[in-house]
Amino acid sequence: MVWEMYLLEMGFSASVIILMVIICRVLFMNRLPKKVFLVLWSVALLRLLVPYSFPSVLSIYSLAGNNQFILEKAEDITNWREEKHEEILVTEKDNKHQAGNTINKVLAIVWLAGFITCAAGFIILYIICYKRFCTSLPVDNPYTQEWLKSHKIHRHISIRQSGSVKSPLSYGIIHPVILMPEMADWENVSKMQYILEHEFVHIRRFDALAKLFFIIAACVHWFNPLVWIMYILVNRDIELSCDETVVRNFGESSKAAYALVLISMEEEKSGIVPLGSSFSGNTAEERIKAIMKIKKSSKTAYIMAFVLVAAVVFVFATSAESAGRQQETGNVKKLEKPDVIEENNNDIQEDTIPGTYNTVLGEIAAGIAAKGDYEVLGKIVTFLNKEDLDKIAKYIADKGDYESLQYIISFVGKDTLEEIAEQAKKDGKSDELQYMVPYM
C-alpha cells in the first residue's frame, strides 16, 4: 500500500510542477535560453521518479498545511470515501479488513496493467525502428572522415545511411549513430554541416538517455495526463534547445541559413522514433520560428532564469516542513525545527499529537485522531503514508485506547503492531488486543 502512496504523492506534486512549467513556457519561451526549460522539466522528472524530496519552509506544501482550506477538503474526501465504500461500514472487522485490502489489490493490478501496456507500446516501437535501422550501411567519404575527426567525444560515433529513413536522425546511447537518408548529398557541405552539427549536439547531450527517463516516467505515471503532456513538450523542447545550441555554435548570423536547411528538409518526414531525435518533423514550423527569434541572452535573462528555476524547485519540489499543529481557530503556530515539537511534549494541548508527519494528510489524520474521531480516521486510513500511520497508531495505543485501534489496525505496520502489543501486555490490557491477533 505504501508504494501507491508514494506514487500518488509524487504524481501530485509533479503535476503541480508541470503546470508551472507549462505556464513558464507560455510566458517566457522566447525570452529565456531554452536550456532553462529543460532544467525545469528535469525537476519535474526527478519528482516523478525519486520518492524522496527534501523539506523546506518555503514549500508550498508547508504553506498549504497551515490552511483551513485543506482541512475542509479532507472532510470532502472522507465523505467521498463514505459514499464509495459503504461496505466497509459493516461492523465485522474481518470484512473491513478484506474490503480495504481488495481495493488496494485491484488498484495495484490496474496500475500494473497500464504500466505494462505503455511499456510494451514503447518497446514495440523500438523494435520496429531497430529492424529498420539494422540494415543501414556505413558512410565513408573524406567529408565524414574529416568531420568525425573534428568532432571527437569519448564515445565512438558512426555515420550511416539507410533507405528506410527519409530524414536524418540520431540514436544510440553507448554507441551513437547518425543515420542519414539514402539520397544525402555529401557535396552540399554548407547544408551537411548544419545537419551533422544538430545531431552531434543531441549525441553530446545524451538526449537519447534523457528521453529514455521521460519514457519511464510516463509509463509509471501513465494515469496522469499531465505527465503525457510533459512528454510531448519535453520532446519539442529538446529539439528547440538543440537548434538554439547549433545557432550559437555557428554564430547568430547563421540563423537564416540554418532555418533554410530545415525548411528544405521539411518535406521529408520521418516516422516515429521514440528514443531518436530527427532533424525535421517535430513541428518544424515552431522550430523555424523559434530559430529566427534566437538572440543573444542578456545578463538579465540569465538572472531571471536562475531565479525562476530556484523558485520552482524550492516552492514546488520540496515537501512540507512540518509546522506545528493547527489549532481549531485556524491560528498558525509555525515552528522552524521539528525537534522543537518533541521538546514540547509535556505541554501538549488536547488537540495536538506529538511528532512530525511526512504528509499534509498525515497531519490532518493526526488532528482527527486527537479529536477521537476514529470512525472518520478509519475511512481515510488507506491514503495515509506508512510512517504517519504508525505514529498515529502508537499515539492511540499510548493513550491506552486499544479498542479504537481496530479502525486502522489492518494498515498498521507489523513492527508497530508488535510494539503496541508489548506495551499492552505491560499495561495488562492484552485482552483488548484479541482482534489484533490475525494481523500479527
Binding site: 539494422c134 540494415t135 550501411l137 556505413p138 558512426s158 539507410s162 533507405g163
Partner: protein
C-alpha cells in the same frame, strides 16, 4: 529475369556472392560484419529476404548460398530504371550527363571512349 527490386542492403549481400562465388551464410555474415558492421541476425534476415525474392538459392548442408541472378542483370536493370526515371527514358541524356561531369578522371574518359568504339 528480375521481377523484384533488390534494396541496397540486399545488394550488399549479393555482392559477397558475386565476388566469392558460392559460400555459406555464415561466411557471408562474417564478411559483412567486417565490412559494414552488421550482426549475424541482420545478415541472416537479409539472406532469407533474398531467398524469398528469388535472388539466392539455399542448399544444404551448411546453408550454402548460390546467387541466382548474375551481377550484370542487376546492373542492367538498375541502369534502365535510372534512365527511365531520371533521364526521361533517354540513354543519351545519361551519357551526356556522365561526360559533362567534371569529376571524370582521364582514365574514365579513356574507358568511355573505348566502349563507344566497341559499339560502332
Amino acid at each position: 529475369m528480375m521481377d523484384v527490386k533488390l534494396f541496397d542492403s540486399e545488394l550488399k549481400v549479393m555482392d559477397v556472392l558475386w565476388r566469392e562465388g558460392d559460400v555459406t551464410a555464415k561466411h557471408i555474415s562474417d564478411v559483412l560484419k567486417e565490412q559494414v558492421g552488421w550482426n549475424m541476425n541482420t545478415t541472416y534476415t537479409l539472406i532469407k529476404r533474398c531467398i524469398k525474392k528469388g535472388a539466392i538459392e539455399r542448399s544444404e548442408p551448411k546453408f550454402m548460398c548460390h546467387a541466382l541472378i548474375p551481377k550484370e542483370e542487376v546492373q542492367e536493370a538498375e541502369t534502365n530504371e535510372l534512365i527511365n526515371k531520371i533521364y526521361d527514358g533517354s540513354a543519351d541524356k545519361l551519357f551526356t550527363a556522365l561526360l559533362g561531369r567534371k569529376k571524370l578522371s582521364a582514365e574514365q574518359i579513356e574507358n568511355l571512349k573505348k566502349i563507344v568504339g566497341e559499339f560502332k
